[in-house]
Protein backbone atom coordinates (compact mmCIF):
# COMPACT_ATOMS: atom_id res chain seq x y z
CA UNK A 1 0.00 0.00 0.00
CA UNK A 2 1.25 3.47 -0.81
CA UNK A 3 1.26 6.19 1.80
CA UNK A 4 -1.78 8.45 2.08
CA UNK A 5 -3.38 11.04 4.36
CA UNK A 6 -6.44 10.13 6.38
CA UNK A 7 -9.41 12.31 7.26
CA UNK A 8 -12.62 11.49 9.03
CA UNK A 9 -15.71 13.43 7.97
CA UNK A 10 -18.23 14.49 10.60
CA UNK A 11 -20.99 15.63 8.26
CA UNK A 12 -21.91 15.53 4.62
CA UNK A 13 -20.67 19.09 4.04
CA UNK A 14 -17.51 18.32 5.94
CA UNK A 15 -16.94 15.24 3.80
CA UNK A 16 -17.33 17.22 0.60
CA UNK A 17 -14.98 19.90 1.90
CA UNK A 18 -12.36 17.37 2.96
CA UNK A 19 -12.53 15.66 -0.42
CA UNK A 20 -12.15 18.97 -2.22
CA UNK A 21 -9.23 20.04 -0.04
CA UNK A 22 -7.35 16.78 -0.15
CA UNK A 23 -8.15 15.65 -3.66
CA UNK A 24 -8.60 12.26 -2.09
CA UNK A 25 -11.05 9.41 -2.32
CA UNK A 26 -14.05 8.66 -0.18
CA UNK A 27 -13.73 5.60 2.06
CA UNK A 28 -17.02 3.83 2.68
CA UNK A 29 -16.70 0.19 3.82
CA UNK A 30 -13.45 -0.10 1.92
CA UNK A 31 -13.96 -3.70 0.88
CA UNK A 32 -12.99 -3.01 -2.74
CA UNK A 33 -10.89 0.11 -2.24
CA UNK A 34 -8.58 -1.22 0.46
CA UNK A 35 -8.13 -4.48 -1.44
CA UNK A 36 -7.03 -2.47 -4.48
CA UNK A 37 -4.75 -0.26 -2.41
CA UNK A 38 -3.10 -3.29 -0.81
CA UNK A 39 -2.22 -4.63 -4.24
CA UNK A 40 -0.96 -1.14 -5.15
CA UNK A 41 -3.61 -0.96 -7.88
CA UNK A 42 -5.06 2.23 -6.38
CA UNK A 43 -3.02 5.10 -5.07
CA UNK A 44 -5.19 7.80 -3.50
CA UNK A 45 -3.25 10.62 -1.88
CA UNK A 46 -5.87 10.87 0.84
CA UNK A 47 -8.89 9.03 2.16
CA UNK A 48 -11.97 10.62 3.66
CA UNK A 49 -13.73 8.20 5.99
CA UNK A 50 -17.50 8.53 5.69
CA UNK A 51 -18.45 6.18 8.51
CA UNK A 52 -19.47 8.98 10.88
CA UNK A 53 -21.51 11.02 8.41
CA UNK A 54 -25.03 11.08 9.89
CA UNK A 55 -26.77 11.97 6.60
CA UNK A 56 -25.72 8.64 5.07
CA UNK A 57 -27.30 6.33 7.61
CA UNK A 58 -30.58 4.56 8.10
CA UNK A 59 -33.21 2.50 6.34
CA UNK A 60 -36.76 3.85 6.10
CA UNK A 61 -39.96 3.52 4.15
CA UNK A 62 -40.96 6.73 2.41
CA UNK A 63 -44.27 6.38 0.62
CA UNK A 64 -43.94 3.68 -2.02
CA UNK A 65 -40.20 3.48 -1.74
CA UNK A 66 -37.55 2.16 0.58
CA UNK A 67 -34.77 4.65 1.21
CA UNK A 68 -31.43 3.27 2.25
CA UNK A 69 -28.55 5.42 3.45
CA UNK A 70 -25.37 5.13 1.44
CA UNK A 71 -23.30 3.95 4.40
CA UNK A 72 -25.67 1.09 5.20
CA UNK A 73 -23.80 -2.18 5.39
CA UNK A 74 -24.91 -5.09 3.22
CA UNK A 75 -25.59 -7.13 6.35
CA UNK A 76 -27.95 -4.43 7.64
CA UNK A 77 -29.94 -4.43 4.40
CA UNK A 78 -30.03 -8.22 4.40
CA UNK A 79 -31.45 -8.39 7.91
CA UNK A 80 -33.65 -5.26 7.79
CA UNK A 81 -37.29 -6.03 8.50
CA UNK A 82 -38.30 -2.92 6.55
CA UNK A 83 -36.46 -4.14 3.47
CA UNK A 84 -37.49 -7.78 3.85
CA UNK A 85 -41.16 -6.82 4.15
CA UNK A 86 -41.21 -4.42 1.21
CA UNK A 87 -38.57 -5.71 -1.22
CA UNK A 88 -37.48 -9.18 -0.12
CA UNK A 89 -35.51 -9.60 -3.33
CA UNK A 90 -33.32 -6.67 -2.33
CA UNK A 91 -32.62 -8.14 1.10
CA UNK A 92 -31.83 -11.48 -0.53
CA UNK A 93 -29.48 -9.80 -2.99
CA UNK A 94 -27.65 -8.08 -0.14
CA UNK A 95 -27.35 -11.42 1.66
CA UNK A 96 -25.57 -12.84 -1.38
CA UNK A 97 -22.94 -10.12 -1.81
CA UNK A 98 -19.39 -11.19 -1.05
CA UNK A 99 -19.25 -13.23 2.12
CA UNK A 100 -20.56 -12.71 5.64
CA UNK A 101 -17.49 -10.79 6.81
CA UNK A 102 -17.48 -8.57 3.74
CA UNK A 103 -21.21 -7.90 4.19
CA UNK A 104 -20.46 -6.63 7.68
CA UNK A 105 -18.27 -3.88 6.22
CA UNK A 106 -19.33 -3.23 2.62
CA UNK A 107 -21.87 -0.49 1.95
CA UNK A 108 -24.54 0.27 -0.61
CA UNK A 109 -23.02 3.62 -1.51
CA UNK A 110 -19.55 2.22 -1.83
CA UNK A 111 -20.69 -0.58 -4.10
CA UNK A 112 -22.60 1.80 -6.38
CA UNK A 113 -19.87 4.42 -6.58
CA UNK A 114 -17.35 1.69 -7.45
CA UNK A 115 -19.66 0.12 -10.06
CA UNK A 116 -17.71 -3.09 -10.42
CA UNK A 117 -18.97 -4.79 -13.59
CA UNK A 118 -19.71 -7.94 -11.58
CA UNK A 119 -21.27 -6.30 -8.52
CA UNK A 120 -24.80 -7.20 -7.45
CA UNK A 121 -26.25 -3.89 -6.23
CA UNK A 122 -26.17 -2.12 -9.59
CA UNK A 123 -28.57 -4.76 -10.92
CA UNK A 124 -31.06 -3.97 -8.15
CA UNK A 125 -30.79 -0.22 -8.64
CA UNK A 126 -31.31 -0.51 -12.38
CA UNK A 127 -34.07 -3.12 -12.35
CA UNK A 128 -36.01 -1.46 -9.56
CA UNK A 129 -35.67 1.93 -11.25
CA UNK A 130 -34.18 3.39 -8.11
CA UNK A 131 -33.09 6.96 -7.65
CA UNK A 132 -29.59 7.75 -6.42
CA UNK A 133 -29.50 10.75 -4.11
CA UNK A 134 -26.25 12.65 -3.84
CA UNK A 135 -25.09 15.72 -1.98
CA UNK A 136 -25.82 17.65 -5.18
CA UNK A 137 -28.77 16.07 -6.97
CA UNK A 138 -30.91 13.06 -7.70
CA UNK A 139 -29.84 10.68 -10.45
CA UNK A 140 -32.19 8.20 -12.09
CA UNK A 141 -30.86 4.65 -12.28
CA UNK A 142 -30.91 4.70 -16.07
CA UNK A 143 -28.55 7.67 -16.02
CA UNK A 144 -26.25 6.51 -13.24
CA UNK A 145 -24.16 3.62 -14.59
CA UNK A 146 -21.83 4.84 -17.32
CA UNK A 147 -19.40 2.01 -17.94
CA UNK A 148 -16.78 -0.14 -16.31
CA UNK A 149 -16.13 1.39 -12.87
CA UNK A 150 -17.73 4.58 -14.18
CA UNK A 151 -20.80 6.37 -12.90
CA UNK A 152 -22.51 9.71 -13.36
CA UNK A 153 -20.97 10.94 -10.11
CA UNK A 154 -18.87 14.06 -10.53
CA UNK A 155 -15.62 14.59 -8.65
CA UNK A 156 -16.40 15.14 -5.02
CA UNK A 157 -20.03 14.13 -5.45
CA UNK A 158 -21.18 11.71 -2.76
CA UNK A 159 -24.08 9.30 -2.72
CA UNK A 160 -26.20 9.97 0.36
CA UNK A 161 -28.97 7.44 -0.13
CA UNK A 162 -30.81 5.37 -2.65
CA UNK A 163 -34.55 5.29 -3.02
CA UNK A 164 -35.92 1.95 -4.25
CA UNK A 165 -39.55 2.02 -5.44
CA UNK A 166 -41.35 -1.05 -4.13
CA UNK A 167 -41.99 -3.41 -7.06
CA UNK A 168 -45.02 -5.64 -7.51
CA UNK A 169 -42.69 -8.60 -7.56
CA UNK A 170 -39.01 -9.08 -8.14
CA UNK A 171 -36.14 -11.50 -7.79
CA UNK A 172 -32.43 -11.62 -8.36
CA UNK A 173 -30.58 -14.73 -9.44
CA UNK A 174 -26.83 -14.71 -9.32
CA UNK A 175 -24.68 -17.26 -11.11
CA UNK A 176 -21.32 -17.09 -9.42
CA UNK A 177 -17.92 -17.06 -10.96
CA UNK A 178 -16.50 -20.12 -9.20
CA UNK A 179 -13.35 -18.46 -7.84
CA UNK A 180 -14.28 -14.90 -6.90
CA UNK A 181 -17.92 -15.66 -6.18
CA UNK A 182 -18.77 -12.39 -7.88
CA UNK A 183 -21.55 -12.57 -10.48
CA UNK A 184 -20.45 -14.28 -13.66
CA UNK A 185 -23.95 -13.28 -14.63
CA UNK A 186 -26.58 -11.87 -12.34
CA UNK A 187 -30.11 -11.07 -13.48
CA UNK A 188 -32.57 -8.92 -11.56
CA UNK A 189 -36.14 -9.12 -12.82
CA UNK A 190 -38.75 -6.71 -11.49
CA UNK A 191 -42.38 -6.07 -12.22
CA UNK A 192 -42.63 -2.37 -11.49
CA UNK A 193 -45.27 0.29 -11.87
CA UNK A 194 -43.68 1.21 -15.16
CA UNK A 195 -43.53 -2.33 -16.51
CA UNK A 196 -41.06 -5.17 -16.36
CA UNK A 197 -37.44 -4.20 -15.93
CA UNK A 198 -34.56 -6.66 -16.30
CA UNK A 199 -31.04 -5.69 -15.29
CA UNK A 200 -28.01 -7.82 -15.99
CA UNK A 201 -24.70 -7.62 -14.16
CA UNK A 202 -21.44 -9.48 -14.63
CA UNK A 203 -22.03 -10.07 -18.30
CA UNK A 204 -20.70 -6.87 -19.79
CA UNK A 205 -18.47 -3.93 -18.93
CA UNK A 206 -21.26 -2.50 -16.81
CA UNK A 207 -24.73 -3.40 -15.67
CA UNK A 208 -27.32 -3.07 -18.42
CA UNK A 209 -31.03 -3.52 -19.08
CA UNK A 210 -32.01 -6.45 -21.29
CA UNK A 211 -34.73 -4.93 -23.44
CA UNK A 212 -35.59 -8.13 -25.26
CA UNK A 213 -36.27 -9.85 -21.97
CA UNK A 214 -38.26 -6.89 -20.69
CA UNK A 215 -40.43 -6.99 -23.81
CA UNK A 216 -40.94 -10.73 -23.62
CA UNK A 217 -41.69 -10.73 -19.89
CA UNK A 218 -43.91 -7.69 -20.32
CA UNK A 219 -46.10 -9.83 -22.52
CA UNK A 220 -45.91 -13.01 -20.45
CA UNK A 221 -44.22 -12.99 -17.07
CA UNK A 222 -43.10 -16.61 -17.05
CA UNK A 223 -40.08 -18.85 -17.41
CA UNK A 224 -40.90 -19.97 -20.94
CA UNK A 225 -41.11 -16.40 -22.17
CA UNK A 226 -37.70 -15.67 -20.72
CA UNK A 227 -36.19 -18.85 -22.11
CA UNK A 228 -37.45 -18.07 -25.58
CA UNK A 229 -35.35 -14.92 -25.74
CA UNK A 230 -32.02 -15.22 -27.52
CA UNK A 231 -29.38 -12.83 -26.25
CA UNK A 232 -26.69 -11.50 -28.54
CA UNK A 233 -23.17 -12.50 -27.43
CA UNK A 234 -21.39 -9.60 -29.05
CA UNK A 235 -20.37 -6.98 -26.53
CA UNK A 236 -20.50 -9.40 -23.63
CA UNK A 237 -17.48 -10.31 -21.49
CA UNK A 238 -15.39 -13.30 -22.36
CA UNK A 239 -12.85 -14.62 -19.91
CA UNK A 240 -11.45 -17.78 -18.31
CA UNK A 241 -14.70 -18.46 -16.52
CA UNK A 242 -17.13 -17.94 -19.33
CA UNK A 243 -17.26 -17.03 -22.98
CA UNK A 244 -19.57 -14.32 -24.26
CA UNK A 245 -21.75 -17.05 -25.77
CA UNK A 246 -22.03 -18.75 -22.38
CA UNK A 247 -22.99 -15.52 -20.70
CA UNK A 248 -25.49 -14.78 -23.45
CA UNK A 249 -26.99 -18.22 -22.90
CA UNK A 250 -27.15 -17.78 -19.14
CA UNK A 251 -29.00 -14.46 -19.16
CA UNK A 252 -32.42 -15.80 -20.26
CA UNK A 253 -31.91 -18.97 -18.20
CA UNK A 254 -31.32 -16.92 -15.07
CA UNK A 255 -34.08 -14.46 -15.99
CA UNK A 256 -36.47 -17.39 -16.17
CA UNK A 257 -35.32 -18.62 -12.78
CA UNK A 258 -35.76 -15.13 -11.38
CA UNK A 259 -39.31 -15.03 -12.70
CA UNK A 260 -40.00 -18.35 -11.00
CA UNK A 261 -38.42 -17.09 -7.78
CA UNK A 262 -40.44 -13.88 -7.92
CA UNK A 263 -43.56 -16.03 -7.75
Amino acid sequence: MYSFDMHKATSLDNAAALLAQSGGKALAGGQSLIAAMKLRLAQPGALVDLSAVPEMKGIRKEGDAIVIGAMTRHAEVASSKVVKDAIPSLAALAEGIGDRQVRNMGTLGGALANNDPAACYPAAVLALNATVHTNKRQIAADAFFKGMYETALADGELITSVSFPIPKKAAYVKFVQPASRFALVGVFVAQTGSGVRVAVTGAASSVFRAKALEDALGKAFNNDAARAVKMEASGLNSDLHGSAAYRAHLIPVLAGRAVLAAG
Binding site: S3, F4, G30, I34, D99, R100, Q101, V102, M105, R181
Partner: protein
Protein backbone atom coordinates in the same frame (compact mmCIF):
# COMPACT_ATOMS: atom_id res chain seq x y z
CA UNK B 1 0.75 10.15 7.79
CA UNK B 2 0.36 9.07 11.38
CA UNK B 3 -3.06 8.60 12.95
CA UNK B 4 -4.08 8.16 16.56
CA UNK B 5 -6.06 5.12 17.58
CA UNK B 6 -8.08 4.41 20.64
CA UNK B 7 -10.03 1.19 20.81
CA UNK B 8 -10.73 -1.83 22.96
CA UNK B 9 -9.08 -5.10 22.08
CA UNK B 10 -10.13 -8.21 23.98
CA UNK B 11 -11.65 -6.00 26.64
CA UNK B 12 -8.58 -3.84 27.20
CA UNK B 13 -8.24 -0.22 26.14
CA UNK B 14 -5.50 0.38 23.64
CA UNK B 15 -4.12 3.63 22.28
CA UNK B 16 -1.47 4.00 19.61
CA UNK B 17 -0.16 6.22 16.85
CA UNK B 18 0.24 4.31 13.61
CA UNK B 19 0.88 4.96 9.94
CA UNK B 20 -2.50 5.53 8.28
CA UNK B 21 -1.86 2.61 5.94
CA UNK B 22 -1.61 0.15 8.80
CA UNK B 23 -4.15 -2.63 8.35
CA UNK B 24 -6.10 -3.78 11.37
CA UNK B 25 -4.47 -7.21 11.09
CA UNK B 26 -0.98 -5.68 11.11
CA UNK B 27 -1.89 -3.53 14.10
CA UNK B 28 -3.08 -6.60 15.99
CA UNK B 29 -0.14 -8.79 15.00
CA UNK B 30 2.69 -6.28 15.12
CA UNK B 31 1.69 -3.58 17.60
CA UNK B 32 -0.22 -5.81 20.02
CA UNK B 33 1.63 -9.10 19.34
CA UNK B 34 -1.72 -10.86 18.92
CA UNK B 35 -0.37 -13.26 16.33
CA UNK B 36 -3.33 -15.63 16.43
CA UNK B 37 -4.96 -13.59 13.67
CA UNK B 38 -3.41 -14.78 10.43
CA UNK B 39 -3.03 -13.57 6.87
CA UNK B 40 -3.64 -16.16 4.18
CA UNK B 41 -4.46 -14.07 1.13
CA UNK B 42 -4.41 -10.54 -0.19
CA UNK B 43 -7.84 -10.41 -1.78
CA UNK B 44 -10.00 -10.65 1.35
CA UNK B 45 -11.21 -14.14 0.56
CA UNK B 46 -9.56 -16.73 2.80
CA UNK B 47 -10.87 -15.36 6.09
CA UNK B 48 -7.86 -16.43 8.18
CA UNK B 49 -7.78 -12.85 9.52
CA UNK B 50 -11.38 -12.85 10.80
CA UNK B 51 -11.94 -10.95 14.04
CA UNK B 52 -15.01 -9.43 15.65
CA UNK B 53 -15.48 -5.68 15.49
CA UNK B 54 -18.38 -4.39 17.58
CA UNK B 55 -19.75 -7.91 17.57
CA UNK B 56 -19.54 -8.52 13.84
CA UNK B 57 -17.10 -10.79 12.04
CA UNK B 58 -14.88 -8.80 9.70
CA UNK B 59 -11.71 -9.44 7.74
CA UNK B 60 -8.91 -7.64 9.53
CA UNK B 61 -6.69 -7.77 6.44
CA UNK B 62 -9.14 -5.62 4.52
CA UNK B 63 -9.75 -2.94 7.12
CA UNK B 64 -7.48 -0.08 8.06
CA UNK B 65 -6.60 0.04 11.72
CA UNK B 66 -8.03 3.53 11.78
CA UNK B 67 -11.43 2.17 10.73
CA UNK B 68 -11.47 0.27 14.00
CA UNK B 69 -10.95 3.45 15.98
CA UNK B 70 -13.48 3.64 18.80
CA UNK B 71 -14.66 0.07 18.34
CA UNK B 72 -14.39 -3.06 20.41
CA UNK B 73 -12.33 -5.74 18.74
CA UNK B 74 -12.21 -9.35 19.85
CA UNK B 75 -9.55 -11.70 18.49
CA UNK B 76 -9.05 -15.42 18.96
CA UNK B 77 -6.91 -14.64 22.01
CA UNK B 78 -9.91 -12.99 23.64
CA UNK B 79 -12.30 -15.94 23.42
CA UNK B 80 -11.28 -18.22 26.24
CA UNK B 81 -12.01 -17.23 29.84
CA UNK B 82 -9.27 -15.88 32.09
CA UNK B 83 -8.87 -19.30 33.68
CA UNK B 84 -8.36 -20.88 30.27
CA UNK B 85 -11.86 -22.33 29.89
CA UNK B 86 -12.45 -22.55 26.19
CA UNK B 87 -15.31 -20.88 24.33
CA UNK B 88 -17.76 -23.64 23.32
CA UNK B 89 -16.84 -23.13 19.67
CA UNK B 90 -13.14 -23.60 20.40
CA UNK B 91 -13.93 -26.75 22.32
CA UNK B 92 -16.12 -28.02 19.49
CA UNK B 93 -13.35 -27.58 16.93
CA UNK B 94 -11.06 -29.75 19.03
CA UNK B 95 -13.68 -32.34 19.83
CA UNK B 96 -14.78 -32.68 16.17
CA UNK B 97 -11.26 -32.58 14.70
CA UNK B 98 -12.27 -29.41 12.86
CA UNK B 99 -8.67 -28.38 12.30
CA UNK B 100 -5.50 -29.85 10.91
CA UNK B 101 -2.65 -27.41 10.25
CA UNK B 102 -4.34 -24.79 12.42
CA UNK B 103 -3.62 -21.80 10.21
CA UNK B 104 -7.15 -21.03 9.01
CA UNK B 105 -8.56 -22.23 12.32
CA UNK B 106 -8.47 -19.01 14.28
CA UNK B 107 -10.39 -17.15 11.58
CA UNK B 108 -12.68 -20.12 11.14
CA UNK B 109 -13.58 -20.15 14.85
CA UNK B 110 -14.21 -16.40 14.91
CA UNK B 111 -16.34 -16.69 11.80
CA UNK B 112 -18.24 -19.66 13.19
CA UNK B 113 -19.24 -17.78 16.33
CA UNK B 114 -20.61 -14.93 14.22
CA UNK B 115 -22.35 -17.47 11.98
CA UNK B 116 -24.17 -19.01 14.92
CA UNK B 117 -25.11 -15.59 16.29
CA UNK B 118 -26.69 -14.63 12.98
CA UNK B 119 -28.11 -17.99 12.02
CA UNK B 120 -29.03 -19.83 15.17
CA UNK B 121 -30.14 -23.35 14.38
CA UNK B 122 -28.56 -23.28 10.93
CA UNK B 123 -28.73 -26.56 9.04
CA UNK B 124 -25.75 -28.08 7.25
CA UNK B 125 -26.51 -26.37 3.94
CA UNK B 126 -26.76 -22.97 5.61
CA UNK B 127 -23.53 -23.53 7.52
CA UNK B 128 -21.73 -24.47 4.31
CA UNK B 129 -23.11 -21.40 2.52
CA UNK B 130 -22.24 -19.12 5.40
CA UNK B 131 -18.65 -20.38 5.50
CA UNK B 132 -18.08 -18.91 2.05
CA UNK B 133 -15.70 -16.34 3.49
CA UNK B 134 -13.34 -18.87 5.05
CA UNK B 135 -11.08 -21.17 3.09
CA UNK B 136 -9.58 -24.30 4.61
CA UNK B 137 -7.18 -26.42 2.57
CA UNK B 138 -6.79 -29.29 5.04
CA UNK B 139 -10.10 -30.58 6.32
CA UNK B 140 -12.39 -30.64 3.30
CA UNK B 141 -14.77 -28.78 5.68
CA UNK B 142 -16.47 -32.02 6.71
CA UNK B 143 -15.39 -31.80 10.34
CA UNK B 144 -15.61 -28.01 10.40
CA UNK B 145 -19.31 -28.30 9.63
CA UNK B 146 -19.65 -30.82 12.47
CA UNK B 147 -17.76 -28.49 14.78
CA UNK B 148 -19.99 -25.54 13.94
CA UNK B 149 -23.07 -27.66 14.58
CA UNK B 150 -21.72 -28.89 17.91
CA UNK B 151 -20.49 -25.43 18.86
CA UNK B 152 -23.90 -23.97 18.04
CA UNK B 153 -25.63 -26.47 20.27
CA UNK B 154 -23.22 -25.74 23.11
CA UNK B 155 -23.57 -21.97 22.65
CA UNK B 156 -27.36 -22.27 22.86
CA UNK B 157 -27.10 -23.82 26.33
Amino acid sequence: MSVSLSLKVNGKSVTADVDARTLLVDFLRTNLALTGTHVGCDTAQCGACTVHMDGHAVKACNILAVQANGTEVVTIEGLAAEDGTLHPMQAAFKECHGLQCGFCTTGMVMSAIDLVARHPGADEATIREQLEGNICRCTGYHNIVRAVQQGATAMAK
